[in-house]
Assembly symmetry: C2
Homo-oligomer: 161 residues x 2
């Protein structure tokens, strides 16, 4: 089965040719795969990311979590409020800098990490990749993201006159 030949010259707008759509679609497939695994933990995927960030380093200000995950306060404020409601984290205003709100894991939040180990294993299996393949693909995506972010900050290159 031969695919239609494609190259940069005969290129026109096609969904199949879009790297971005492949990423967009894969991202949704991932969160759909995570959903039933995270449901028993009472977490959504973005909430799970925040928990991972806190399991790596507890007692972080909202800003630090946002930088780590690429999210702003508009997303994190209500999300963290829900995690607080679930009893997984607490918020404490920093004594030295009253602008900052530090996010701390509760006992329940710390204990959840054990259950989360099973999630990682199940997801790894669902990807059908070896650990090495997954890391290689991850590296490519991280590099791509860097380039996109850099291109975004040098706007002239995106708007050639």
């Amino acid at each position: 089965m031969q695919k239609k030949a494609r190259n940069a010259d005969n290129f026109e707008i096609e969904l199949d040719a879009q790297l971005c759509f492949a990423i967009y679609d894969a991202a949704h497939a991932f969160t759909r795969t995570y959903k039933p695994l995270l449901e028993p933990l009472g977490l959504t995927y973005p909430q799970y990311l925040v928990m991972i960030a806190l399991w790596e380093e507890d007692d972080q200000p909202v800003k630090a979590i946002g930088d780590r995950l690429g999210l702003d306060s508009g997303t994190l404020s209500p999300l963290l409020k829900r995690l607080e409601q679930s009893g997984l984290v607490a918020r404490k205003r920093d004594r030295d800098d009253e602008r900052q709100v530090k996010i701390l894991l509760t006992k329940k939040g710390r204990e959840l990490k054990t259950q989360a180990a099973g999630v990682t294993a199940a997801i790894g299996k669902a990807t059908g990749c070896s650990f090495e393949e997954a890391m290689a693909l991850r590296d490519e995506l991280v590099a791509l993201k860097e380039r996109l972010t850099k291109a975004g900050s040098e706007k002239e290159t995106l708007f050639p006159v």
Copy 2:
């Protein structure tokens, strides 16, 4: 600069080790890159995807667009209503099957394709990939998505007893 050694054995939950986070993050970086390019066209990225689907094949029912993009009516109904409001598409109930609503491009919607060519070029440049590299990465992601979707439909494998 040597990175911390990682393999499947010493693996624990780390953000840096998550393929899914890399995809999630890259997807956001992409839509952020698209945003200023699509703004002049009056489109969001998901709306742009719908337009591409219609430029490829006009007069499709909502269901067909949903299958193509992996979106359901809960997402598409309001999105299409906004595209209709923008004067880019029209909705017409199918005579032969009154359940279906066919989406048709308006003249304005058809004409927008010309402007969109510039977007593709700018994005291609922003990725910093050659066409071949982009297609290779795309292929890997499509294959990954297939495996995730298949794993999701065979739930037992995700919940080993």
